[in-house]
Amino acid sequence: MQKETASSKELLPHLFRLEYTKMTAVLCRHFGLKHIEAAEDIVSETFLKASEVWGINGVPENPTAWLYTVAKNKTKDYLKHLTVFETRVKDAIQTDELQAEHDFEFNHQTISDSQLAMIFAVCNPANATEAQICLALQVLCGFSVAEIADAFLTKTETIKKRLFRARTNLRNDNFQIGELQEQAIQSRLDTVLSTLYLLFNEGYSSRSNNHLIRKDLCSEAIRLVLMLAENPLTSTTDANALLALMCFQSSRFDARATNDGEIILFEEQDKTLWNQELIDKGNYYLINACSGNQISKYHLEAGIAYWHTTPTDDHQWEHILLLYNQLILIEYSPVTALNRTFAFAKVYGNEQGIAEAEKLNLTQLNHYHCLLGYLYAGTNPAKAIGHYQQAIKLTKSPSEKRTLTKQIEKLTILPGR
C-alpha cells in the first residue's frame, strides 16, 4: 500500500500533463467551445478524485482508462443536471450543443480529432499572436500560468490578462469544433503554423534560463506539428517543412549551451552531441515538404538548418547564403538580415562581410555588435572589443554577458598586439 501511494504521487503529475489537454479537447468537442470552462472543471475534478482514491486504494491497473471512465461519468452527471435545470427551471430550452443523450468515447480517434480541432480553435487570428501562444500553452499543452510566465519572462498577472481576453474570444468565436471543416483548415492553417513556429522559437531562443521549460516548449511544438503532419487533412508541404525545421533545430539543442546556459557558438559545438535520430527525421519531413511547387519561409529555414547539420560540404555556406537571400526577400526581419550577413562573410570573407554588416546599421541590437565583433576579431581587435562591449551593454541575458566577456578576454591576451 505504501509503495502504491508513492507511485500514485509520481504518476499523477505525469498523467496530468499527458491527459489533461486530451480530455479537455474531447469534452470541448462534445459540449462546444462556449463551455470550455465546464469541460476544464470536469477534467480537474477527475484528477482531484484520482489523487484521493488512488492515494487510498492504490493506482488502478489501467490508470488512463480509469480517468476516462470517471470523466465520462462526471460529464453524464453534469449534462443530466444541466438538462434538469434547463427543462424544469428554464422551461425546456434545448441548446444545440448540449445533448445529454449524445454519447461519446475517449478513444484514439476521438482524442486526436478533438486535439487537432482544438489547435485550430486556439489559433484564432482575432487574438494577438502572444495571446495565441499563451492560449496554446495552456489549452493544448497543459502549462500552468506560472510556467507560461516563466517561459515568457513575464509577470503572472500579465499572462492572466492575456489569457482572459483570449479565452473570451475562444468562447465567442463560434468556431465549429465538432468537425474540422475544410474551409476552417484553409483559412486558419497559416495562422496555426505561424503560432506553432513562434511557440518553438520561444523555447529555442528565448532568454529564459529555465532550460527544462525551454526544452518542453520545443517538444510540445513538435508534438503539435506532428499531429498536423500525420493527418491527411492538414499534412501540407508547409506543415512538413515546419516539422523538418523543428527536428533539425532540436537536434542541436544539447550541443548549443553549456550546463549553466552559456551559448556555445556553432563552430565550437561538440558535434557528437547532435541528435542523429532527429536529423534523420528532419530529412524525412524535408523530403515530404518538397513534393509540391510551393516554397514557404519554413522550407527555406528548414533548408538552412539542413545545411547546418550536414557534414561539411565545400559549398555549404554558398547554399546557406542562397537560401538566406531568398528568405530575406520573402520576409524581412533583423535576425534574418544578421544571419544572412554572417553567411555572406563566410562566402566572401570577413572584409566584405564587414562592409555588408555595417550597411544594416542595427546599432540598437546586441546581435549586430556580436556579429561585427566576430568579423573584426581577426584584423582589428580594438574595434572588435568595442563592438563586444556595446553588445554587453545591450544584452539582458547574464549568460550572454559571460560569453561575450570571454571573447573580449581572448582578444586582450593575444600576443604581439
Binding site: N325, Y332, K359
Partner: protein
C-alpha cells in the same frame, strides 16, 4: 521614405547570365532587402515575347523604341532621398555587362 523605381536596361538581347552573375545580382537584391529598403522585388521582363504598340495599326516586334536598348526588369526601393537610391543602383553588377539603370521617384497622388 519615398519609393523609387530602378529600371534596368540592356542592349544585348542574347545575354544569358552565368550562375555567378545571377548570384551576384541576387546578393545585391538581398542586400537591399537586408536593410529593409526593398519595397518590391519587381520582375524580370521577357525580350523574346515582346511587342511595341504605337497605335491601333502600328505594332512592331520586340521591346525596342528608338535605339536597340530594352528594359530588362525593375525593382522598387524605399529610401529617404533619390541619392540613396542612386547609391543602391551604383553597386548593381549590370554595368559589367554594359547595362544602365534609370532611377525614378514614384509619385503619390493624394486624393
Amino acid at each position: 521614405m519615398k519609393d523609387f523605381v530602378l529600371i534596368f536596361r540592356l542592349s544585348n538581347p542574347d545575354f544569358k547570365p552565368s550562375p555567378e552573375q545571377m548570384q551576384e545580382r541576387m546578393n545585391w537584391l538581398a542586400g537591399i532587402a537586408a536593410q529593409n529598403k526593398l519595397a518590391d522585388k519587381g520582375n524580370t521582363l521577357s525580350v523574346g515575347n515582346a511587342k511595341t504598340v504605337k497605335g491601333s495599326n502600328l505594332v512592331t516586334d520586340g521591346p525596342y523604341t528608338e535605339i536597340k536598348e530594352f528594359v530588362s526588369g525593375y525593382i522598387i526601393v524605399k529610401t529617404e532621398t533619390i541619392d540613396e537610391a542612386v547609391e543602391f543602383a551604383k553597386s548593381n553588377p549590370i554595368f559589367k555587362i554594359g547595362g544602365t539603370i534609370e532611377v525614378r521617384e514614384v509619385l503619390v497622388h493624394k486624393p
